[in-house]
Amino acid sequence: MSDKMRIAGQFIAALPFSDALNMSLEDIGDGSAVISMPYDSKLVGDPRTGVVHGGAVSALMDTCCGAAVMSHPSSPGGTATIDLRIEYLRAAKPGQKITTRAECYHVTRSVAFVRATAHDEEDTNPVATATGSFVVEGK
């Protein structure tokens, strides 16, 4: 495992809310990240269907986008979300892990623009897509 992967993995685990949702880092690049979240009955938003609440998917998207920003070579410090828009394309299958992939598609001195998609284990159409803008902080 690379140092970058190890450090980023420890960083995600140190965020109490991400940890409470059992998120784990799957991959990290230069301005991109992959984070997954296992299915858990405490995350259910619709008891009738057992589908995970949109808010939990938002939390996963936000964490993954933030990790992508921090992994970018021109973003040495921390970050904060300015705006995040999520489109819920379809319900995630109950019982399945959700995996998000985020990439910074443009980074300026002060703002990073990020796109992300979320899939369940049926790796066909995404469950959700997101776009966001994030603060780029210096060292």
Binding site: L15, P16, V44, G45, S58, A59
Partner: protein, 170 residues
């Protein structure tokens, strides 16, 4: 038509409304997991997110996680929207609170999209939110929601979302 009927006793009205709201909220595991509560004044709802360590996103400055904030806003929107159409059935007698168990809960609206505007970082203390339904049609609804902490006028986050309305079975 008969004349005016005598108004119901206040305890009866409160018991019915609080019972229905409680059934709506307690049925959703994610609301319990986050610890979100609702304060009802007539038909107006205020959501409360009591601070807890697990909601933190930035351990250094102890700020709320953006995902916790987004979840809080989305929960407030969905419950406020459900409450608005539940209210009519509840008050007209179509819906019986006694029969609102997990099998017979009214169907919840589904989120189409949700856009969160993070205005300032969430402090390690309780947060409050209220949602306003700007359009409530047969097919979809548009909802705006605002969240604050110490001062009502100083929002720390706001959001707009679109929701697919559950279709009535009758």
């Amino acid at each position: 038509m008969s004349g005016r009927t005598k108004p119901e006793a206040v305890q009866v009205v409160k018991k019915r409304r609080d019972g229905a709201l409680n059934a709506l909220i307690s049925g959703v595991p994610y609301i319990n997991f986050l610890g979100i509560e609702f304060d009802r004044r007539g038909d107006e709802l205020t959501a409360i997110l009591p601070f807890s360590e697990k909601l933190i996103g930035n351990p250094i400055i102890k700020a709320l996680h953006g995902g916790a904030t987004a979840s809080f806003l989305e929960v407030t929107s969905i419950i406020t929207l459900s409450w608005s159409y539940l209210w009519e059935d509840l008050e007209s007698g179509v819906l019986d609170v006694e029969k609102m168990d997990s099998e017979h809960m009214p169907r919840l609206p589904k989120t189409i999209d949700f856009t969160v505007d993070y205005l300032r970082s969430g402090l390690p203390r309780d947060a409050y939110a209220r949602a306003r339904i700007n359009r409530s049609g047969r097919r979809y609804a548009s909802v705006h929601v605002e969240a604050w902490q110490d001062n009502r006028a100083k929002l720390f986050a706001q959001a707009t979302g679109h929701f697919l309305m559950p279709q009535r079975r009758d």
